[in-house]
Symmetry: C3
């Protein structure tokens, strides 16, 4: 199962073995939420939607509706079938719709319409990102979502029909204060909220359900996600982040995604890559306040930018480290990336 | 005529049929202002300069002088002839000089000298951008101008001889207020000002003259520009932008440029691409306050960043949508972009 | 000697003749500080460390320790030998450690640990940057250092164990004030401090020692560095920068680096390229307040961003100017950059 996802994701931008496709539009849509965690498994997607519904049924509806709209738009525009049928055209639109629901108010008609438009536009952005990053054989990850959701949340105070608050959230970043000592309850909560914050949820049981969904698809992936979450907590604590920010999961959700991406998805799961992935998870955790500080003066959010940037860096670097991947530059590797990784024409 | 421009612009970064060159240095310089709207037509350039002069003769002088200096520098440095002779080396320098005149004061000697230096440097920036974007077969658009003018306007408060104001314009972005209901007079003014703001002008008759210049070169281009302007107004109104910002054209000028670029210039003008171009125009309109908010804390301007970013995205994406361009991935398309689109060596 | 460095640096990302390697781990580490100025000379590196020690022995220790840790990490991960043995894996880590010492306090244990972690991570970032920029045949310069040091200094106020100050340094940029008339003493100090500020030092004799180290390796490089420093002073004065900012060297250190890079290192040293390099040096000087203003609202520093961005632009552009490099597009040049500049597989 886990091996299968790896192939599926590797087909995102690069060549690779023929991925196992999911038949039927319904299961393909359900793969959308699951692909947020790199899993092309409709059952996992169903569990993820259920987890969102336990927080608020409308979040589940936005997430599933977003995935459906993104997948449908991609089909209509004729995007390559292997992308559509493995949920790769549904996870960015799922996150975009969910993000708008959380930040702009799930009940407002303007949010529904804007989310629908966003799901169409993010399909175009995804195609662009896949092509631009194809030069380096890098996957698109959640970059399309970060770009679109970032633009809309920064632009929103400029539009009176969209913005639900009376004032802008833009502010100069300040030095943090507050205690840094973690209590056991903080640690337990942070462990699960590091997973739930990927979907903008701050309740620990949502994270627990999401993690169960990951284990359902792959035990290795579940363990790696746990390692990533623990690394995020440890790094944030060691650097002196406030306990409140660790406990609510906003410091560590990027670490979970980086660990998954670098150990088992885009690199094989070995002890060496696990260490590399946890170095990446620690880097993403340290990077999180930097992204937040860079975007704060314009009222922006960090979203999954730390994960995206860290994973791009660590994936681009890995070919220069033959001792890490356990092989020298063989004949296949010897060719420059733009020759071995030509995207198939229709991607 | 319109088909001719398309070739000319396609030669910007990509291969293509042999473009029709404009003979003589004078007409080549006049093509500079026209190329801001993707038109390699000296008569259109003359009308554009006339339009600038109706606002203020000095703006016309800056615009034409900038185009001449940029074209001359490119000749001196030995830039490929097909770029120089079609005005592609003149439109960024035209905009740079004009932008300095408007923002730093047209009457000051320091502005004249800075504009001259800027026209030389933007030629280097243009060559760099053409080469960097050539990897993806993307045109350079007004990115060189956005980079240089953006850098100078952000840096200007740090130099006492350049900055005409006593204080910096840097501020945190605020949520907009003011009425959103559009009156008929607002709509009419916005329609023309969406064109004139491309050249930093806020008088409706400047926009009307510019639009006449576009129609002079190509009726299709003129109609597409009108569609883009209307889409910009509709999108801004639907999202709830303040009526005052719609009426002065600052919300919609990027929509005009995006519509032109995506329908007739870099993609063939068909009903499908018109829809695609108007989706792009709407996206650029929504993006405009985002760019403004991102740059406001450092005192920057949006310039044509929304146009540039949106057009890059929609052009990079279009190959993944075979149903849009009406053809499957044929033998020519099957080759990865870096093989079919090798820039000619001298570009 | 100077020609040798050029080869060494050209091997950074591109092909080229076989560089002369420095034997032994100690001399390789000493090449790290020297490579900040593009010099693969262990004696120069020793002089640079001595110069740092005259300011504060701890700065010398951080700089040398950083270079050692970066070089060692790269060896451990199996980075290509020609990069390790010429100091190219040591100069970014040298600057990272030094920057942390200056900005976060050299005496604190947290700074030591963070610098050590930073030196490991910057090796990964360097590998990523080399691969990403390899598409355009561009060298990595100090981009890895700028990225990592920039991220950490922006993130630092978010971590209580790292941040030594009680408040954030984030602020909106303001228009400068203060006299712009330079006194002779200002000019002399600025001339040397333009060199010392590359290593965060503001004492003139540190700059004098550094310059002596450059002359020790190459007389041409020393003269070019002097020209760059003078250009930086002249440009800043002509644009009206405050005399105090010119005198402390913060306006001109990027000009020195740009001049070195564009005349003798990545382009051959000829009268034409000297002019081109000094145009680049002036551009970088004008760009410096822009970068500072862009990063000020998030509490960031300019580091060597102006140098990196300017050099990338001027290097990417240079192939379009056959008159500058004194040759037409020959058969070697005719191939698109991604074919002639394939990085060797293990780089």
């Amino acid at each position: 199962m886990w091996g299968c996802e790896r192939d599926v994701r590797r087909s995102d931008g690069a060549g690779g073995r023929r991925p196992r496709r999911v038949p039927g539009f319904g299961p393909q849509v359900l793969c959308g939420p699951a692909q947020v965690m790199f899993l092309a498994n409709p059952w996992t997607g169903a569990v993820f939607c259920l987890a969102l519904c336990t927080a608020d049924w409308r979040y589940g509806a936005y997430g599933l509706g977003g995935a459906a709209l993104g997948t449908g738009t991609a089909r209509l525009l004729g995007v390559a079938r292997d992308r559509v049928e493995t949920g790769l055209e549904g996870f960015n639109s799922c996150l975009v719709a969910l993000c708008f629901a959380v930040l702009l108010g799930a009940d407002r008609l303007s949010t529904v319409l804007l989310a629908a438009a966003g799901c169409v536009v993010v399909t175009v952005v995804t195609a662009a990102v896949v092509r631009l990053l194809g030069v380096w054989d890098l996957p698109s990850l959640t970059l399309p979502y970060c770009l679109l959701a970032g633009a809309v949340t920064v632009a929103a105070p400029g539009f009176r029909r969209i913005w639900p608050h009376g004032h802008s959230l833009a502010a100069l970043p300040r030095a943090v204060s507050g205690p840094t000592a973690l209590r056991p309850g903080d640690v337990g909560g942070a462990f699960f909220r590091n997973v739930s914050q990927v979907f903008f949820q701050d309740r620990w049981y949502v994270g627990a359900l999401l993690l169960a969904g990951v284990f359902l698809a792959s035990r290795v992936a579940g363990l790696v996600a746990c390692c990533g979450s623990v690394t995020g907590i440890l790094t944030a604590w060691a650097l002196g982040a406030p306990a409140a920010r660790i406990a609510d999961g906003t410091m560590g959700y990027n670490a979970v995604l980086v660990a998954l991406a670098l150990c088992g998805v885009f690199l094989e799961a070995t002890p060496a890559t696990l260490l590399y992935a946890l170095l990446g998870a620690a880097t993403a955790t340290a990077l999180t306040p930097a992204v937040a500080a860079l975007l704060a003066p314009s009222g922006g959010h960090a979203f999954t930018w730390p994960f995206v940037l860290t994973t791009f860096g660590f994936l681009a670097a890995v070919r220069s480290f033959p001792r890490l991947t356990g092989r020298g530059p063989g004949p296949g590797e010897a060719a420059p990336p733009w020759q071995v990784t030509a995207p198939t024409p229709s991607v």
